[in-house]
Amino acid sequence: MAASELILDLILCLVLLSLAVAVVEVKRLYDSIILFIAFGLILSITWARLGAPDLALAEAAIGAGITGVLLMAAYANLAPKKHLQNSHRSWLAVGFSLAAMVWLVLSLIPLADSPESLVAVAEQAMADSGVTHPVTAVLLNFRAWDTLLELVVLLLALLGMQQLRLPSLKIAYPWPLLNAWGRYLAPLTIVIGGYLLWRGSSGPGGAFQSGALLAAGLIVLRLNHVIPGLSWQHAWLRCSVLCGAGFFLIIACLTAWLGQGWLDYPASYSASLIFIIEFLATISIAVTLAWLVTGQQEAAS
């Protein structure tokens, strides 16, 4: 049994590395995007093999799914003469990546010596965290600061896109079959996304996975012309983009002002606070990601 598992893991590593090299090395940009999506899927299986289902779900939904669609949308905006990959090497980039890799590996080595201590600390504090799933407790309670910054990063990405004032995606009229299948898929994404969000407090799942899934549903509906374009002028769009990070910040300020410190929730409220934060973050993530792919610029008038 162990031997066959070792073979599977070795094949996974090999495929992962060759896909990573192929993504950089292939000539045509389109092939590179397809290979990158395949890379995301293999990476997600790798996370699952390592016993990290939360990361596997996030990688499959965001890394392979939404990022793939984003790259495709960017590719559709490119002029045909730019469809080949830039072939000359930038040694600066190679050096920087190598330095970053060495630094990351060096900072991981101390963790290998004391794996139990961190796990033990987290498990001791589980009782006051308000949730029963350790990963969610770390993400939204013990290290809530990191998650808040992740939401801000997403917001920054959206603002950057907004500054570029790219032309909006031209969407072909869909074939009836795709249209019909899209209409079946959209309610399913709401059900599964809602389940992932709800499940986050006791098992693998949570705001990012659920938000990415809902964004996928929104994108499918938009590509099928079922919903009108997401325009930045709609007040509801701005509100839903801001509500996740905004509410998180308000809680952070309130806990600093009235409570024990930044994002140190009072134990009796932590369960409901975490759920509201996750719910609003899911909405923000879903709308932001969908806007990044299919966002519409107003016609300059």
Binding site: W175, L177, L178, W181, Y184, L185, L188
Partner: protein, 99 residues
């Protein structure tokens, strides 16, 4: 008995995946490749799920796997149609352009 049947079904499913991959790599044009691929993954996955269902200890797990199979079948049928229609369109366009 059930164990042996399950192993047989899993092997058959795996074989269909391998055959589909060989077809994808060896067939000459998009339509026959799509044919090989979609047959292989719907039937292959169906057999794997049947094999796994024989080992499942709960009815719920079986229903969940059947549901996944249905989803994969429907989306692979849709994706196959889309790719084939796209190819047909670009074949037409290129032959129109040649005239």
């Amino acid at each position: 008995m059930i164990e042996a049947l399950s192993i047989l079904l899993l092997w058959l499913g795996g074989a269909f995946f391998v055959i589909g991959t060989v077809g994808l790599l060896r067939f000459p044009d998009v339509y026959s490749r799509l044919h090989a691929l979609t047959k292989a993954d719907t039937l292959g996955l169906g057999l794997v799920i049947l094999g796994l269902s024989l080992r499942a200890d709960q009815l719920f797990t079986v229903l969940l796997m059947l549901f996944i199979w249905l989803l994969v079948m429907a989306s692979s049928a849709t994706a196959c149609q889309l790719l084939a229609r796209y190819q047909l369109q670009s074949d037409k366009d290129s032959s129109d352009g040649g005239k």
